[in-house]
Each structure stands twice: as C-alpha cells, then as structure tokens.
C-alpha cells in the first residue's frame, strides 16, 4: 500500500454528474415545475395567471402545513424512522386549540403552550415505546395515528368547533386571528411560521452536534452506539420533534381556517413523506437534506396549483404526484447503485 506510485491525494475523484443531479434534484425539479407553470399557465389580459401575486400567495399558503410537518419528518427519516401519526396529531392539536380557546376560555399563551406540549409529549411517547419495546416505528406511529384520531374525537365531542373572535365567553382572543391573515394583504402569516421553522430546522440539522448525531444514528445505529452516541435519546427526540411540528401545524390549521375539526389532516403525513422523498432524503436513513425537503414541499404545492389552474381533475393531480415521487426515488437508486453506495 505504501508503495503506491501516485500520491493518493493527487488521484482525482471522478464524481458522476448524476450525483450532482440527485444532490440538487429537488431544486432542479422546482425550477422545472415553475418553468412549466409559467409555460402552461392560462393567461388573462396578457398576464400570466401563475405568476400573479394572488396566485403565488396561494401557493405558499397552501404548503405551510404540510411543509411544517415535512420539516419534522426529515429528522425522523434521516434517523431511519418514520412517523405516520403527524396528520392525526395535527387534527388533534387543531381541535385542542379550538376547544381550549372557545369552550374553556383559556388565554392564548396558555393554550398554545399546552397544545405544543401535547404534541411533543405524544411524539416522545411514541419514540419511547418504539425504542424501549423495540417495536418498529411504522407500527407504533400507525397505532399513534389511530390514538390521536380517537383523542381528537373525544376532545371535540365528535363535532366541529367554530372559532369566532371577540371578548367574553365562547369567543377566542382576537390575536389568534393573525394566523389567517396576510402581511401587507399579500404574504400569509402561516407561511411566515413555516419559513421561520424551516430556517431553524435547517440550522439544527446542518450546524449542530444534534444534527450530526441524527445522521449517525440513521446511518448505522450499532456503530453509533459503540461510538458513544446516546442513540436512544436521539431516537426518542426525533419523534418529539415531529410531534412539536405537528402541534404547530395544528395551531396554524386552526388559525387559518378558524375552526377545529377532528377529521382534518387526514393523509397529510403522506404528503409530508412525499416532500421529504422528493427532496432527496434516503428512506433507509443516514442521508438527506432539509433544503431538499423545503424545495420538495414548494414543488408539490406549485404542481398542484398548475394543475388546478388548468382545471385538471383531482384524480389526475394525484397521478401526477405519484409519478413524481417514483421518479425522484428512481433517480436516487440509480445513482447510488452506480457509486457503490446502497
């Protein structure tokens, strides 16, 4: 080995251009979707409808909730787990928010703190059960999904809770209405919440010790444990993060629509997972990107919008989304098999 004629450092790596494609696939996909959006957009009086301020505001508002869920989901998936309960927890937290504000007359901050704590606790318990009892996360969070739905039916008395604003009993504090509003009449507050959390999540994943731990645990749990990484704590914590994100998304949901409904959020977990996968995160764990997830979420929102603008049926929209998920996954597998990865 020591007699190698070429100094090792001088051997140039030959990285396949496809590897770069995968690294930036979600951003590239986003560019393509936006270009297509402009190209295929209906026009009115010479204006491109897709680019109209109103329309753009609609797109970014529509992605706020699944986007927030996808941020948490990215941590879990990189840690080689999965959380199917986030949509149901979103529903539970929207109901809880409405119930406490309207029917119990709690103050805004007490309500929000309790709802967020509920989400974190719910996630942490799932993580704890999965880790300590060694049950696959898929199963535990599937059970968690059912449990959260059941809890939200109980909390709401199986009914829809309308939020009206004002002073006095039966009214929510006026401040809460801000989540449904738009800054300057344009920029949705819900999207601002998403962007702040997205910046935070990106920072935590890329620039902290905790983020490094998440990658290591997802890459090889045993090797991480032998290297002294607190594997169980990391695994439990990622579910606490998804719980937290689901709670915030539930609050945003209640605020945006001014009601809490026990059946809302159904299927959101799948949209969140789709955004993560399109963003290039490996479902086997150990590799992934938060920026990719964010781009993936925006891309899904933009895509749905284009199809809607062109009056494409909901059925075809689902088909298109499915096709994109498969393409994103296929591209990754193709590149990984070439580079000797997985």
């Amino acid at each position: 080995m020591s007699t190698s004629t070429v100094p090792a450092a001088l051997e140039r790596p030959r990285r396949s251009p496809l590897a770069y494609l995968v690294r930036f696939q979600s951003l590239l996909g986003l560019v393509i979707v936006i270009a297509a959006g402009i190209g295929f957009s209906p026009r009115r009086h010479g204006h491109i409808l897709f680019l109209q301020t109103d329309n753009v505001a609609n797109i970014i508002r529509s992605i706020a909730e699944t986007g927030i869920l996808a941020l948490g989901m990215t941590f879990v998936i990189i840690a080689a787990g999965i959380d199917l309960s986030v949509g149901a927890v979103l529903g539970l937290c929207s109901v809880l928010t409405a119930e406490l504000l309207v029917n119990e007359g709690w103050s805004l901050w007490t309500t929000l703190s309790l709802v967020v704590a509920t989400g974190i606790l719910f996630g942490a318990v799932q993580g704890f059960i999965s880790t300590k009892a060694r049950i696959q996360a898929f199963i535990v969070t599937l059970a968690g999904l059912q449990a959260a739905r059941g809890l939200s039916l109980i909390a709401s008395g199986n009914s829809f809770i309308n939020i009206s604003y004002g002073a006095g009993p039966g009214k929510a504090p006026v401040g809460f209405a801000i989540l449904g509003e738009r800054i300057g009449g344009v920029f949705p507050v819900a999207t601002l919440v998403f962007l702040v959390l997205a910046a935070l999540a990106t920072f935590v994943l890329n620039n902290t010790r905790y983020g490094r731990y998440v990658f290591a645990v997802g890459g090889n749990e045993k090797a991480a444990r032998l290297s002294g990484i607190p594997v169980e704590a990391v695994k439990i914590s990622v579910y606490a993060i998804t719980g937290l994100m689901a709670a915030v998304a539930g609050i945003v949901h209640a605020g945006q629509f001014s009601f809490g409904s026990p059946n809302d959020g159904t299927g959101y977990e799948l949209n969140a997972i789709a955004a993560v996968v399109i963003g290039g995160t490996d479902l086997f764990g150990g590799a992934g990107s938060m920026v990719g997830t964010i781009a993936g979420a925006v891309m899904l929102g933009a895509l749905a919008n284009i199809l809607e603008l062109n009056d494409v049926s909901a059925a075809l929209q689902l088909l298109a989304t499915g096709a994109i998920i498969v393409m994103a996954a296929a591209l990754q597998t193709f590149v990984n098999s070439g580079s000797g990865g997985r």
């Binding site: 020591s2 030959r14 990658f215 890459g219 090797a223 032998l226 590799a287 000797g340």
Partner: protein
Amino acid sequence: MSPALLGLHDVQKWFGGVHALKGVDFTLAAGEVHVLLGENGAGKSTLMGVLSGAIVPDAGEIRIAGEPVRFASPRDAHAAGVAMIPQELDLVPGLDIAANLFLGNEITGAGVLQGRRMRDAAQELLAKAGVALDAGLLVSSLRIGERQLVAIAKALAADARILVMDEPSAALSSVEADHLMRVVRDLKARGVGVVYISHRLEEVARIADRVTVMRDGQVVGECPPQAPQAELVRLLVGRPLSDLFPPRASRVGKPILHLHRAAFDPARPRAGWQAPRDVSLTVHEGEIVGLAGLMGVGRTELLGALYGFGAVGRWSGTVEMRGAAARLGTIGAARRAGIAYVTDDRRGTGLVLHHTVAQNTLMSIWRRVTPFGLASRGLERRRVAEAMENYDVRPRLPAAKVVNLSGGNQQKVVFAKELMNGPSLLLLDEPTRGVDVGAKTEIYRRLRGLAEQGLGVLVASSELTELLGLCDRIVVMRAGRTVHAFGADAGEDAVRAVCESGDEERAA
C-alpha cells in the same frame, strides 16, 4: 494455439474517486486452476465482479473462447457459462438442497413443481460434484463447508465452464478444506476452468496450476505454483517481509486495568453468551495483553462486558481503572473511564458504510468538535485531516464514502475513529480477521506504536500465532475464567496445551 477459455484485456474500473482496476490482463485455460492472490483492496474482488457480470467495467475487453462478450448483468455471465461462488453463499437457507440447485430453473409439469424429479436430478448433480448429501436436506441444517459444496453443485447444474470461487476455504475446517480441494481437482479433470481467489499462501502449492498476484488494482506478477512463499509475499506486499511482528515492549508503566476475581452478572443471561465468571488480569501502560482460548470460552464476552456492549449487567469483584475502583457495564461509563473498543465486525458495527470518511472518523468525538453544541466545519476538517495523515488512510479524500475504500483502509478508519478520544485502554476483538498478511503487519506495528505512547492494549484473538508474536503477555481463558498467564517467551505448544486442556472441567 487455441484461444484461452477466458481472457481479460486491459480491464479498468473506477468507484467514485477510487481507481480499483488499472488495466488488468488475465487468462484462464480449460482444465486449469488459476489462483488469484492479493491483499484486501488489491482489486481481486472487483475483477471477479467484472467476470461474473455484477460490475460493468469502464474499459477493457472480455473474451470467452476467443469471442468478445459484454456482461451487463450476472445473468449474461451465467448464460456464457461463468458461475460465481461468492464468500457469502447465495443459497436460500429455508429451502432444501434440491430446491436451491434448481432455484429459478425449477422442473415443472403443467406449472406444478415436480418435487421427486427435482430431488432425483439434484442427487445426480451432487454425486457428480462428489458430494455425499441427501438432496432433501434443508440448507439451514448444513455446516458451512457442506453449503460450499452445494454451491459448487449449483454452479455445475448451470453447466458452468468457468467457475469463480472467492476465498472458498476461508470459513472451512481443515478437513472440509481438504474435501473442497478434492472436488476442485475433480472439476479440473473434467475441463472446467477455475479461478480461485485466496489469501492462504499455503493453499497455493496444493491446488494451483498458475498463480497471479494483484496489488493496487494491477497484476504485479505471475508465478508457477512452486514459487517460494517469501517470493509471493514480496509480490503481495510490494516489499520484502523481513519481520511480521514488531519488537516487544521496552518498558511497562503503571497498571491501567486491573481485574481480580471479577465476575459479570448479566441481567438477562443468554444461552451461548459465556459471561466472565472469574477473571483476574492486569494491563499496564505500554503493554499488549492477549486473550487466548478456544471458541466460546468468553473472550469476546469479556471485552463486551468491560465496554458495556452485548449485555446489560453488573460487575462484582475487583474492577479498577488506574488504581481506582471503576463501575463498568455501560458504554458511557467505559468511555468516561478511557476505554476504547474496536469491534470484530467493522462493516456491521464499526462503520457507517455509506457515510464519508470524515463522518465516520468524527463519530466518536462529535462532542469535542462541536463547541456549545454547534458544528464547526473548520475544526472538523482539521481533525479529519490529522487523523487521515496519522493513520495513513488512502485515498486522502475525507469526502470519499467508506464503502468505496479497501478493507485495510476501512480498518484504519475504525482505528482512527476509536483513538481520536485519546483513550488509555484499547480493547480489540479479532483485529486482523479477514485481513491479509501485509495489512496484518501494519496493524501489529501500529498497535506496538500506540503501546509505546503509553496505551494499554487488551486483544482477543483466535489465532494463537498472532498472540504469540504480538503480545507481551497471554492470558488463557476457559469457560469464563482466566486460568493461566504466559510471558512473552511462552512456547506455542505450552499455550495450546493449556487452551485445550480442561474440557472435562467445562463438561462438569
């Protein structure tokens, strides 16, 4: 002269930044056993991957009986009569031998499996391969050597003209290996060409017609089988191998680990996990202590119990680190006490294979390179560059995925990772398993170097010659107990006798 049965010409392959095959030529004649020797990472497995269609070369030519062929998949290679017997045998344990021999090629009548006909045909194939096994046996019930023979029979079932065997004898007992040699000679007599990959030098003279040695992705020499071993080693390693083992400790310091009548009580006893029951040993600064003993006497378990890995439980008796009582039993406690551990399974538990060298190297010291919990890329880069330099990890690409590195370089990354923390005691389980002679020497030298800097080393190994050559002292274990300690001058026979005696004690 008729064309060779198989000919490779100027075959090249890149993996990411690693040039794994740098223009390899290789031929094989019918009825020939051509042994391919090489260290880990020399490129022999890659070459075999190319032959079996699992790896598509970036350049070069493959000819079979003079005809150029292109293998895009293992199926193509199979169709051309090339059969591969990998180290990890591709048999389905839950099926019987017959079903395995005809896997994907089942004998059916009107779409229904013809079990009896398949078993009869399988029995014939087994007989042809010189294997005396009932075709109705489940593969899961066979020993590893028997499975190897079934794999050969399976290759014959596909009418293979070229058989590629990847270290077939690595996991076999000597009796099983003898049987394998007979079967291979038999195949040869029937005109099958055999490519036989090995790093057991003593096998070469017994089986080979021709020997090719690879190093660094190139063929560095071709020899007749009678070539002296020293010459083969020189080709393999690229330099004369004057001395396999480094000199022993010059001076020994204060005790680091001291166990006296120590026992480990697992919370949940498991069958087959031999808990340390009565262990007395001391490892000093600068000293390499070996743990010897037969399989299953509790060497691995002793290391695991010290490091807090493999079982949860409590120590009793005297357990001291640097003269002070230590509560060991969890990984956290062991690491705080300055203990590092190198597993015997670097791919399974030592490394994150699809992470980079940098990520792996830093895995045990994230706490130290993340001030206030924040990542510092500059600090990370510096520590990784330092480690790669110290441990001579090649290529020097911190962003290379570990999976693309050779076995020897992977092992260096494991060592670098474990030693980044500056431990005072290093536990090693089979540090040279699956590593060839050149890489072994390098590991021995490095261990001695670490010991000279004051590290204490406790190494468990099933290779007695390794312990005798490397260690300052050898402690023999039997049934979870330390029974005898030998000095550096111990004779092999004496140590072996102590290891193998006392069977009646275990039975009692």
